[in-house]
Amino acid sequence: MKEIWQVLKEQFKYFPVMWRLANYEKKARYQNHVLGNLWLFLNPFMQVATYWIVFGFGFGTKSPVEGVPYMPWLIIGLATWLFINTSFMDSTWSISSKIWEIARMSFPMSIMPMMRTLMNFNAFVYMLVIGVVMSVFYGLPVTVYWLQFFYYLFAIFVFLYACGILNATVTVLFQDYQQIMQTVMRFVFWISGALFSISDRFGVGHERIVRALETNPFYYLVSGVRDSFFGHTWFWENTYPMLAFWLFTFCVLILGSHLHLKFRAYFADLI
């Protein structure tokens, strides 16, 4: 517990540094590209277009929400997934690839994973806003349930923070971890519910399998963000998945903080 607290304290203490660095890196990222920051939008929208054509037209996937077409439903889910997936994968190399640059600096290395998350946050918000505005255009009513979005946003950040610390540390110790995670995340994508509702695909008779698949933390977050806009229940009514999600995050956090503090003085030796 002490270790979680220590790493967490560093995040808050160095938040200004993290914030300024994230802003700077964001600017520098597409600097040498002709289209510059436009890539921030082009990339996700090409993905949306692809999935929309393949699933919306090709497989005739419908959004499970009455009155809302597939497109805005897809955008909101995919925005959440892309934000989580990109930040999750970025965190794996956030320390190992920059060690020579950051090891001698006057901030702890533990802020690097979170810095990556902050960098991806803008693109997520823009895409989400587009999805929501589209849905409202198609007649989605604005309800008090929308407030839940802030709970799920909080959950996303805690989850990415916990995984980030663990991912960044383990990658330094064990390089293959990054490749493994890449493979795992490719699979997780299909059960994250970003493209289609899992229960519709499996149909009647497989409820238990579907529910077991739906307890994965990525599905919890992606469907959670969707539910805040389309749903009519509160997040605490979804009790068991909520508890499973937070316990999982807590386990990752204990492990991540511990390993990080244990090995961080040796990071330079290990790379």
């Binding site: 517990m1 002490k2 270790e3 160095y14 200004p16 540094v17 300024r20 660095l21 700077y24 520098a28 600097q31 040498n32 020579w100 640059e101 950051i102 090891a103 001698r104 600096m105 006057s106 901030f107 110790l173 064990f174 390089q175 409820e207 238990r208 399998i209 529910r211 077991a212 307890t215 068991y240 998945p241 508890l243 499973a244 316990l247 999982f248 807590f250 386990c251 204990i254 492990l255 511990h258 503090l261 244990k262 090995f263 003085a265 040796y266 330079a268 030796d269 290990l270």
Partner: protein, 327 residues
């Protein structure tokens, strides 16, 4: 006089070992269990001790591979010593040729990035920007990407950024040997300014002339040992004499000598270190024990954390089961 001056850096029997020919998993295992059966180690530093006061400008000399860089990396906080005690009072800034400069970014952008990493706010950086650019003598090149810079230009930029971060302890690793004469003069006057402010500077250079000019104390590091530490004049003369002697040797003799020294660095052991420490009169017994021990990797996870981890994990499985089975 020396009683009034504060100690800035104090090292006691600092060692650093590198594991020879081991995979990373073996390295990690060796870290967790340092007393496990010995795989061959190379002692880059064999227990060196020194005290450096505020206002000292210390030159570090020695042949290639003598442990200078290892020492600097430890002082700058990049590497952790294997054993021994290191106390640093203040913030250190390391300056090596091109260290931490990003090739695709322009000089100006690199200044901002580095300053941000040192914890400065954008306002503070804006206020400093012109000073740094002026000092660097780069002129219009400041808006060119660093990848187009010559090594001298990189060194100038790096030096300008580093001295404007207001470091307590500045470590200069070969960074001035590539600059031109005018810039070296400018750097020298800046270093004198720092000295007057009571800052401490470590200065590594292969150019003995520069060491003589810039520093007033010197360390001679030879194959992992601190061979001598004293006034620059004495040390530089001794070092020069040694170099002269070494150069009189034939090539095979030189090689044999180097091999012999390297072998000593492999053959050195913890027992040897403990013996050296035990003979030291200036240390108290408690201290001796602490210094000769291997620095342990952080604590093992406490039982309470394991318990919490286990409970959370089981709880998670239970809730997944509940949900999957009954909804």
């Amino acid at each position: 006089m020396s009683e009034e001056r504060k100690v800035k850096v104090s090292a006691k029997y600092l060692t650093k070992t590198f594991d020879l020919g081991k995979s990373k998993s073996e390295k990690i295992r060796a870290m967790i269990n340092p007393v496990g059966k010995g795989v061959q180690k190379f002692w880059a530093l064999k227990g060196i001790s020194f005290e450096v006061y505020e206002g000292d400008v210390v030159g570090i000399v020695g042949v290639n591979g003598s442990g200078k860089s290892t020492l600097l990396n430890i002082l700058s906080g990049l590497l952790l010593p294997t054993s021994g005690e290191l106390t640093i009072n203040g913030e250190t800034t390391l300056l090596a040729v091109g260290a931490g400069l990003r090739a695709q970014l322009t000089g100006r952008e690199n200044i901002r990035l580095k300053s941000l990493m040192m914890g400065k706010s954008n306002k503070e950086i804006d206020a400093q920007m012109n000073d740094i650019i002026d000092f660097s003598d780069l002129g219009e090149f400041i808006d060119q990407p660093v990848k187009d810079y010559s090594s001298g230009m990189k060194a100038k930029l790096g030096f300008s950024i580093a001295v404007h971060q207001d470091p307590d302890i500045l470590i200069i690793d070969e960074a001035l040997s590539v600059g031109d004469q005018t810039f070296a003069q400018k750097a020298l006057s800046k270093m004198h300014e720092f000295k007057a402010q009571g800052k401490t500077i470590f200065f590594v250079s292969h150019s003995l002339a520069q060491v003589r000019e810039f520093t007033d104390k010197a360390m001679w590091i030879q194959y992992g040992d601190l061979k001598a530490f004293g006034s620059t004049k004495e040390i530089a003369d001794d070092y020069q004499a040694w170099n002269k002697w070494f150069n009189t040797l034939s090539r095979t003799e030189k090689k044999a000598y180097q091999e012999e020294q390297k072998e000593k660095q492999v053959a050195f052991s913890e027992e040897q270190l403990a013996k050296n420490i035990a003979q030291d009169q200036a240390l108290v017994d408690d201290e001796k024990k602490a210094i000769s021990q291997h620095l342990a990797v952080g604590d093992a996870m406490p039982i309470s954390s394991w318990l919490l981890f286990g409970l959370s994990f089981i709880g998670m499985l239970f809730f997944i089961y509940q949900y999957a089975m009954w909804g």
